[in-house]
Amino acid sequence: MRKIKYVDALNEALREEMLKDENVFIIGEDIGKNGGVFGVTKNLWEEFGDKRVRNTPISEAGFIGCGLGAAVTGLRPVVELMYQDFALVAMDQIVNQVAKIRYMFGGKAKVPMVIRMQGGAGAGDAAQHSQSIEVFFAHVPGLKVVIPSTAYDAKGLLKASIREDNPVIFIEHQMLYATEGQVPEEEYEIELGKADVKKEGKDVTVVSWSYQLHYVLQAAEELMQEGISVEVIDPRTIKPLDIDTILKSIEKTGKLLIVHQACKTGGYAGEIIAQVVEKGFYNLDAPVKRLGAHDTPVPYNESLEKAQFPSVEEIKEAIRELCSE
């Protein structure tokens, strides 16, 4: 199978869905001729023109609401927010409008809309351009939250998100754009709400997603030399959450660690653990563990930034501790 970059997988998904459905269009900052500051929309403006690949003013609330108005009147907008952090400028539109309109209207509105954004630390972008705030969105009824970690998942999930008749928060990661992965030439999509076992193992279950998942995979690889077999699960969408795949894995391993790049306090690990305790408590043979970023803003300095979120060493140590229980 051919290998392509995460960024190009996203680009292909957008292009294919735009070719398939003329109601699909994309709007956002610098996505036109510039191709997006991360290159996700490269060459789409040349192919589809201003009508369907539309640069916006720097008005996040304005153009997210614009996407909503278009969605409830028959179109399928894909709205790009350059940084996840910028969603905070537009939270009224996302939380009070986009997420709630269907329910408030008694089910009489459909909101087929994707809000793409990228976020997370690792690139030296400091506190206002590096946050991992997926849990903010997961808390809101009416939104689905997709957060792919590989090129294959990115393409298949973006295609499914564009075809979805509900609003989807689609969270990419700056540090993943250049990563390569196997992506088939032929058509496929990945159903939202289905986890993927990224590595099978028998001693401990580790749940992680997005960029942080790759730290977990490296830790799992290295621990094999110590005779520890780690099963790595990527939920891929945190809402809806495929808790069954996680519970099934715990039946086998009896041990659970969750690792995310978001701050530990109030992070999504807490929700997953709560569900596991409610539904699979008796399959656990050790206390559950979670690793998240320190409860600080993301610092600029490289050493400080790396120290802020879980490292491979910290993940390995947490797994060793679990296995010694």
Binding site: I64, G65, A70
Partner: protein, 322 residues
């Protein structure tokens, strides 16, 4: 421009809104309408004048003070009242209430509980019309309070930049709850803000149906023919308190009474009596007829079933039923 029959229709529509609002306020006092209620008594000419200039398939989105706008767009007062009473027969199945009345089939993109929250959404409907090449236009109603929200500025700038078919109808009733506009802004006329965005801003007498209609019709024609957005500032006044717990310390009885002399309903009624279309007696009969319609609507709402409890978890997401 209007024949007398049309004017009678206008009069009836304005009375319908007035009587509906008065009844809704009564139901609110009796605890039947819950939460908050914002009525538009005194502002009927804006609702009816703007909507008279629209086609059925044009879009409107409105505010927390939006009953009049949706009724003027064609919503059935029975179903609006049922929604206010939280009944299963309401437009939103009782899940929205006063601040969220919507009916997409009529181009009503909903009232909105967040001041200024609807301007971007209406802008998107206009974008959609332009994208699909339908010749529809969108109207966004918003108050003087919302004109100080960022979303107003973002929306109007974006619509101007993209030449979208939209009319921003500012209903300037002069108070954001208790805060007079002039105490929080140096802008004399909100219409002037259009200049900053390179579009036309028009001051409208919001108490005068004809002025509202004519200026809206002109803006609609321009938008439909690719001329882009217009900002209309309709200067108007609410004759009633903002909502509950409003002691109206921010204005005098004299000021309210001065504005009441310019009641938009009485203006049309007087015109029709003076030109011999109706007698004073016929005018009172029309008022009574409308009152009865509102009573019937209220009866319908009160007798309607409550939503079943399993509705609680429905409609959060669209789900494909296999």
């Amino acid at each position: 421009m209007f024949d007398n029959e049309q004017l009678l229709e206008v009069l009836e529509k304005m009375w319908t809104i007035r009587k509906f609002e008065e009844k809704a306020a009564e139901l609110f006092t009796r605890g039947i309408v819950r939460g908050s209620l914002h009525t538009s008594v005194g502002q009927e000419a804006v609702a009816v004048g703007v909507n008279y200039a629209l086609n059925k398939d044009d879009y409107i989105q409105t505010t927390h003070r939006g009953h009049g706008h949706v009724i003027a767009k064609g919503a059935d007062i029975k179903i609006v009242m049922a929604e206010l009473c939280g009944k299963a027969t309401g437009y939103n199945k009782g899940k929205g209430g006063s601040m969220h009345v919507a009916n997409l089939d009529m181009g009503i993109l909903g009232a909105n509980g967040i001041v200024g929250g609807g301007n971007p959404v209406a802008t998107g409907a206009a974008f959609s019309a332009q994208y699909r090449g339908t010749k529809q236009v969108a109207v966004s109603f918003f108050g003087d309070g919302a004109s100080n929200q960022g979303t107003f500025h973002e929306s109007i700038n974006l619509a101007a930049g993209w030449n979208l078919p939209i009319i921003y109808v500012n209903e300037n009733n002069q108070f954001a709850i208790s805060t007079p506009f002039k105490t929080v802004s140096k802008t004399k006329d909100i219409a002037d803000r259009a200049i900053g965005y390179g579009i036309e801003g028009v001051i409208v007498d919001g108490m005068d149906f004809f002025d509202v209609y004519e200026k809206t019709a002109k803006a609609v024609e321009k938008a439909r023919n690719g001329g882009g957005p217009t900002l209309l500032e309709c200067k108007t006044y609410r004759f009633v308190p903002h909502s509950k717990a409003d002691r109206e310390v921010y204005r005098t009885k004299e000021e309210v009474n001065e504005w009441k002399k310019r009641c938009p309903i009485k203006q049309i009624e007087k015109l029709l009596i003076d030109n011999g279309t109706i007698t004073e007696k016929a005018a009172r009969e029309l008022e009574s007829k409308v009152k009865q319609n509102v009573l019937d609507a209220t009866e319908y709402a009160l007798n309607s079933p409550e939503p079943s409890l399993d509705e609680l978890t429905k409609d959060v997401y669209f789900e494909v039923v296999e």
